[in-house]
């Protein structure tokens, strides 16, 4: 019995190993993973932004660079629809605090890059995830980001220690 069992085990293992080699053609499939990357430059937060009582109020929101080997989209969203009253000492929004009348706009303008087909910047009005830039990728696209917060005379000024505040989230992803 032992004499038969040992060669049988060996044969089974050899057969198992031989199965993949029984194909006639050698098929090679290669998949190139797609990726998207974005600089942290939009993380350049803005402190002490002095808004005029009436006007467009623009300031730099930093810059961003996108590198992708497939088509991409950049969206921006806010935690509030409007810049809202915020206590700097507690780093929290004031409950039932004041808000500015107009929404904040974010503008992306392409300034350079290596992408053969340049990406396109857009104006996003903060609220939901709004498209800020799109591109076909295959290289880098550099954008400058500008924030614009229109104010009106009806917007109240705040006491010291309080500021109008908003959190912007920039998301770079592949295009659907």
């Amino acid at each position: 019995m032992k004499k038969i069992l040992a060669p049988s085990i060996l044969l089974s293992m050899v057969a198992l190993l031989a199965i993949p080699a029984s194909a006639d053609d050698q098929v090679i499939d290669a998949t190139l993973s797609n990726n998207v990357s974005m600089t942290a430059s939009p993380t350049s937060s803005v402190s002490g932004w002095s808004l005029a009582s009436t006007g467009a109020n623009t300031t730099s929101g930093g810059s961003m660079t996108i590198n992708s080997n497939s088509a991409y989209t950049v969206t921006v969203s806010g935690d509030k629809t409007r810049m809202s009253e915020y206590e700097t000492a507690t780093t929290s929004y004031v409950t039932s605090g004041r808000t500015l009348t107009n929404a904040l706009s974010v503008t992306a303008s392409r300034t350079g890059g290596t992408a053969v087909v340049p990406g396109v910047g857009a104006i996003a009005v903060v609220g939901t995830s709004n498209t800020l830039a799109t591109g076909t990728g295959l290289g880098t696209d550099d954008y400058s980001v500008t924030l614009s917060q229109p104010t009106a005379i009806t917007d109240e000024s705040l006491a010291s220690g309080y500021t109008y505040h908003i959190v912007l989230t920039y998301t770079a992803s592949s295009t659907l």
């Binding site: 019995m1 038969i4 049988s8 085990i9 044969l11 089974s12 198992l16 993973s33 797609n34 990726n35 998207v36 990357s37 974005m38 600089t39 942290a40 939009p42 993380t43 350049s44 937060s45 803005v46 402190s47 002490g48 932004w49 930093g62 660079t65 996108i66 590198n67 992708s68 497939s70 991409y72 989209t73 969206t75 935690d79 629809t81 810049m83 915020y86 780093t91 929404a103 904040l104 609220g127 939901t128 995830s129 498209t131 290289g139 880098t140 924030l147 500021t163 109008y164 505040h165 908003i166 959190v167 912007l168 989230t169 920039y170 998301t171 770079a172 992803s173 592949s174 295009t175 659907l176």
Partner: protein, 435 residues
């Protein structure tokens, strides 16, 4: 006949030199590609950015994040549900069903040194028959010790998306929910057909719109294709320049393929300008402020006053949990905005909030966002599945056991077939006789 020149061969030293040169060239080429990639990588990179997978109940794959900056980054990864707006812009939404279906091992919050990579093992599983999985892995990042802005605090994210069609049967169906056009500043019009994916897998439809006046085809506009997720709507768009001074009623006939669907609309023109209602939901915010709070802002982006109805629907997975209509009785003038707010009563959980502006049968705009009420549950890390070598070893052992069993059976059958012991002396005798 002149002397024949023997064909050049690559034998001996020449061949070796050729191979060596090829290796050197390949090395330089690969090195160049690697250098280029190193140079191109910026900020935080996520790979894969988009993954499509079919026909499996579960699938494991690696997502890699790489810090391409020269400073350490604080990174927080999370699983999100994947959606999109009418323009096809992807949205990454809070979704407990996505968190359950897509488990991440190696994720959470961590710090990544300059140039370092982190491999996250993602295990996606189809939860129910006939369902698909559309989710995203979102990596939020910021440099260490970055002070928060008092006026504007900015956060950056890169996201990879997973489109996983479950086992068949697939239902690839669609319907055209709206056909129309919107004016552009340069006098052209963007013609669109808003298509809803009514099936259980994503689709990539395309199509055309015929512009017909008095029974004659004025133009045929090609609509660009785009991915639509189940339950979502997307506008397929094309550009159209109307003839100068166009007057009267035109018909737009949309013909969508992959999957097939049709729709039509009638538009009145006056001296080259279309009298069409157009509005954009410029803001949809859903938050947990001690209870659900939803706010929708709409802007009239057309040239005529509109009286739309703003519709807000809250879904938990496939189930509608709440709905509210805000009919606008006063006309909204061109460029004017209208904001509505609602505080629906919702239990703790994650929801999909859809805001829709409609006028009559016409869909003017639609936006979707996520809403989480209560604290996010702690999702245990995935076990990572059974290693391949364990599976291979188990298969080998199974084959060995089966082979042993077969041998035992064969041996037993042979021993059963053997003649009774009384016959043996006869054989012995015959052998003896042969001698």
């Amino acid at each position: 006949m002149g002397p024949t020149i023997p064909p050049r061969s690559m034998k001996g030293p020449k061949r070796r030199a050729g191979i060596f040169a090829a290796f050197i060239a390949a090395g330089f080429a690969l090195g160049g590609v690697g250098w280029a990639q190193q140079q191109e990588c910026v900020g935080l990179e996520i790979t894969p950015a988009r993954l499509e997978q079919d026909l499996r109940w579960s699938h494991s794959y690696d997502t890699v994040v790489r810090n391409c900056t020269d400073e350490a980054l604080r990174i927080t990864t999370a699983v999100a549900g994947l959606g999109h707006d009418l323009d096809g812009a992807p949205e990454f939404l809070d979704s407990s069903s996505a968190e359950q279906a897509l488990r991440l091992k190696g994720g959470g919050a961590f710090t990544l040194a300059p140039g370092a990579t982190r491999r996250l093992r993602a295990t996606a599983a189809i939860q129910k028959p006939g369902r698909s999985l559309y989710a995203g892995i979102v990596a939020e990042f910021e440099p260490l010790n970055l002070p928060a802005g008092t006026s504007v605090d900015a956060r950056s994210r890169v996201a990879g998306m997973l489109l996983m069609r479950g086992p068949k049967p697939w239902r690839e169906t669609a319907r055209v929910v709206d056909v129309g056009l919107t004016p552009n500043a340069d006098g052209t019009y963007t013609i669109y057909a808003a298509v809803e994916d009514t099936g259980n897998v994503h689709i990539v439809p395309r199509g055309t719109v015929q512009v017909i006046k008095d029974g004659k085809v004025l133009d045929t506009v090609k609509l660009a294709g785009g991915t639509i997720l189940p339950g979502y709507k997307r506008r397929l768009v094309g550009l159209w320049t109307p003839p100068d001074g166009l007057d009267g009623r035109v018909t737009l006939n949309a013909d969508v393929t992959d999957p097939p669907a049709t729709g039509s609309a009638e538009i009145d023109f006056s001296r080259g300008e279309a009298a069409v209602p157009a509005a954009r939901i410029t803001s949809l915010v859903a938050s947990d402020a001690g209870g659900a709070y939803i706010e929708v802002t709409l802007r009239n982006i057309g040239r005529i006053p509109i009286t739309p109805t703003i519709e807000v629907i809250v879904h938990e997975d496939d189930f509608e949990r709440a709905r509210m209509l805000f009919p606008q009785t006063e006309p909204v003038e061109p460029d004017a905005i209208r904001t509505v707010a609602w505080e629906p009563e919702l239990a703790d959980g994650t929801y999909r909030v859809t805001a829709r502006a409609v006028q009559g049968e016409e869909l003017l705009d639609e936006k979707v966002t996520g809403l989480r009420i209560g604290e996010a549950p702690v999702v245990p890390e995935a076990g990572g599945g059974m290693p391949l070598w364990v599976v291979a070893l188990a298969i080998v052992l199974l084959i060995v056991v089966l082979a042993a069993l077969m041998l035992v059976l064969v041996r037993k059958r042979r021993s059963d077939d053997e003649p009774p012991p009384s016959a043996q002396p006869v054989r012995e005798l015959s052998r003896t006789g042969a001698r």
